[in-house]
Assembly symmetry: C3
Homo-oligomer: 388 residues x 3
């Protein structure tokens, strides 16, 4: 808390002027939460999960998003479609199981047997006559924009900003695209309901000032994190060490470590497609606001999904993705990577819940974003734009 602004090195990546956080009530107010569902969660590409459970034609999966249910189905042409899980007749949910298959390529409502094709067209009702003013073509299922991308299902309930899925993932192009995510296989899943607002999870993810305190093990693996920094240029005097190849200054993993794991070593099949830079860094990141972020390492990737359950409750899911060969190897020490990441996650979720509690103070109308927390400024500016 010493450096004067005038002595800061050129190229410094931190914030130079004080920035206030979002109003604190954005993190627990019920009406504001509904507004965020509408303006943020229902208007952006949301990463719902892997597409592997709908890999076969006529297979379906139902995903929850806020108060909405999205029915995703693979057509006979192998392309995905998505609909609200709602019959146009009297609103019955079409599917009550999470996953299944539509034999005959027909979606039949369990209530009155209205039958739709996999494009959502109403093929027939069971009424013996057709009322004046009723046209089946007016009663197609409510469509939802859907994309399959890199082995994931992305859906957008409404309007949106015109971005493509790829454009919605900051850090995909030129970075995470080096990982063959579409071909990789889930080796482990972690799921927990966290007692905090979804933005608290993102803001925790977006800065490393908390790393020395909260993540002793991770901070040993990534020496720059032990200094509370994410990039070497987050240090206002970074130029003094510009040529230093000590990871404490230049970033990346500690000497001798290759990947995020207990021993730092690679035991699975390395991803062959990585650039020299990606291999050297040992960690790459990409973010898809508001629903998911991606980590790529030399031999695996892990992906985090968030789902808002309420103003102060979020479902947090992480999956670990490996090359198929890695998981087929009985000797592969899965716990070596899973336990490492899970420890970091547990540390994060604990402090997220404690943050949520403190924010209820009536005096705390807003907090302050510190210089190293520039990611939070970007994120909160985006939230503000979405809400406008």
């Amino acid at each position: 808390m010493a450096t004067k602004p005038e002595s800061i090195d050129p190229g410094y990546t931190g914030l130079r002027t004080k920035v206030e956080t979002l109003p604190t009530q954005y993190y627990f107010d019920e009406a504001h939460y509904e507004r965020e569902l509408e303006r943020i969660w229902y208007c952006n590409w949301i990463c719902l999960g892997r597409s592997s459970s709908v890999s076969e034609p006529r297979a379906y999966q139902v995903f929850d998003l806020g108060s909405q249910q999205i029915l995703v189905v693979r057509g006979d042409d192998k392309r995905l479609r998505a609909f609200h899980n709602t019959c146009r007749h009297r609103g019955s949910a079409l599917c009550s199981n999470e996953t299944g298959r539509f034999p005959g390529g027909r979606i039949t409502c369990p209530y009155h047997s209205w039958i739709y094709d996999l494009d959502g067209n109403l093929l027939r009702t069971t009424s013996l006559t057709q009322a004046e003013g009723f046209s089946p073509e007016d009663y197609s299922l409510y469509g939802v924009a859907i994309e399959e991308f890199a082995g994931f299902v992305f859906a957008r309930l409404e309007g949106g900003q015109g971005l493509s899925v790829e454009e919605s993932i900051d850090g995909y192009t030129g970075r995470l695209e080096q990982w063959p995510l579409g071909d990789m296989v889930v080796g482990h899943t972690f799921r927990r309901v966290v007692q905090c607002n979804w933005k608290v999870v993102w803001e925790n993810y977006g800065e490393c000032l908390h790393c020395p305190n909260i993540h002793p093990t991770l901070s040993k693996l990534v020496p720059l994190f032990a200094r509370g920094l994410q990039e070497k240029t987050d240090d206002p005097h970074w130029q003094a060490h510009a040529q230093d190849d000590d990871p404490k200054y230049c970033g990346g993993l500690r000497d001798g470590a290759k990947t995020w794991s207990m021993d730092g070593q690679v035991h699975g099949k390395p991803i062959a497609t990585l650039s020299e830079d990606a291999r050297r860094a040992g960690q790459s990141f990409a973010d898809c606001w508001p629903s998911a972020y991606f980590h790529g390492h030399l031999d695996y990737a892990h992906v985090t999904f968030m789902r808002p359950l309420g103003p102060e409750q979020t479902e947090y899911t992480k999956i670990w993705l490996f090359p198929k060969e890695t998981l087929e190897d009985d000797d592969f020490p899965l716990a070596n990577v899973v336990d490492f990441v899970k420890k970091v996650v547990e540390e994060d979720l604990g402090i997220c819940e404690q943050t949520q509690k403190g924010m209820r103070s009536r005096r705390h109308e807003a907090g302050v974003i510190m210089p190293e927390e520039y990611y939070l400024k970007d994120f909160q500016d985006w939230v503000r734009r979405q809400l406008d």
Copy 2:
């Protein structure tokens, strides 16, 4: 979904033009739910249950209705009275047990021993003096309109439409009145909290388009139901079979069946007072919106009570009523009728809960009432009138 309007037979009972359902938010919005409590549940005759638990003078029973508690008591003159279960002094609930007896014919508040007679008049307080402006006659219990009818207790909290209880039960006069409901005895009770709006239960009850799908056993017993119809004239081409006495066309139970039961046979004492028509039909119905409906069969009746617990939660109770002699017969196979009806109920409640879920879709602003669902139009028109 084929018949053109112009080719419909005269006398057709279905709807001829398209009708929209109530707005979907009427099924889950909290503020709208409160409005329905006030305009519908607190202003109509509500069937609270059997009067048998208050059969003796000075016996009482407390019934819940929305957020209100109604204390029903039988006077020494054998007539029922009802009051809010609330002392006029500082609002204490007068009775905490569901049923009981007022010895001495006095209602004594447990808090400060204010004493009321069974007409609700305040007889005495325990204060040593009487403040200026305080007149005991201003502090009678809050009265509730109450009627005993056919062995049931009906209460109306407020105003109401001026209908009598009998007028409030559509299908009673000339139909259900053939059953000696007042003398019949409860042989079985089924109760479940259903996760749906109360109107979903009524709308499920009011049409048989869902019968082929949802009720295979019932549809075997009532062949017209297997065609998705309730009345023979629900078929736009009913005249082609106008003289046909196949129950598939003319209605009623399948050949050889006499009553709603597993084997279709009557094992209890038949109701002697039924008309030839009622006997032939094997099933008769009457409805008391919004709280109850009645089924009469050759040897028993069953009655369904609904109570709203929240916008998406309803208490569903069904009782089976038999002639006293039937229940005294140790060989009477009670399960033969109970299990049959219970199967139908479980099927209905399952699809009601699934309907409630699908209605949360933001796109589903309203559904459509199909031609055979004319009962729903009547019901929803009534709901709309009540809310005006």
Copy 3:
């Protein structure tokens, strides 16, 4: 319910004209509850509990009050300070344990290690530079007014009425101050979540019209209570017995009883500092609206704390305080006093919950305060003034 106003004795303490209670919706309406939190619970001195758990320098305790958490800490100067349990950076709760100690006399936020001294001054952040516009002196912890008084911790979140803690306790000066509360020790604690509004508990406490009914044992100990009175002058004809030393007329405990206990006898060390009057009365009272009331007896005291948990839910805590020597005496029959008081409490809380239930009646817009319930008028007038 007989005495005419004109025949009332001079000096009569009851109400002479009819008074309406607060509107009933003040006891369950959610928005009104929030208003009471703001205007009453956050603006008055609240008795949080004993200060014994923060007796050592650097010890802290976190107290809940409504949605707020108050961190109370003893400074190295032995004086208490209090703050919102919230870091000024991004709002993390500073302490997650209920009690603990700050080694080094520093409050360190667990999230990003912002460090505050025990006066709440921000000593350092962990950022490497200081943004323009950021001054540490603007980021002291949010302070809370705090007082240690008679062994209790009192906090006031906001403004307040300018009263001192002592002035906030009606009946302290000249009455409860005779008890050495600061030196007494907790011998027993009773805690229960009661399903009623906090005001229902106060109103139950504030009158004895309910005593004959609800408290048979207490009414035997305090004969005036058996008549539904708190003071002898609550009887409109009190002068007829003005010289009578029967406790039925003059108040105090029954002949031969000395204290509130099962056998009425004193087994512990008597409080030496009591006046002759206090000793004779056998019971003394003091109230600190809205959070606590105090009972003093010859050999012990007991104190009741209330905390609002919701419009229809209150946390009720009672502690029994004894001279240290009494608790060190292995033969002291603790149950003799604890069981007596606990019986009274259970009786009160039962009828409080029943009162809450009856108040939901839509017809019961307000109740009536009876002549002997003058304390309720004072209390409700105070509530009204706070809300204005």
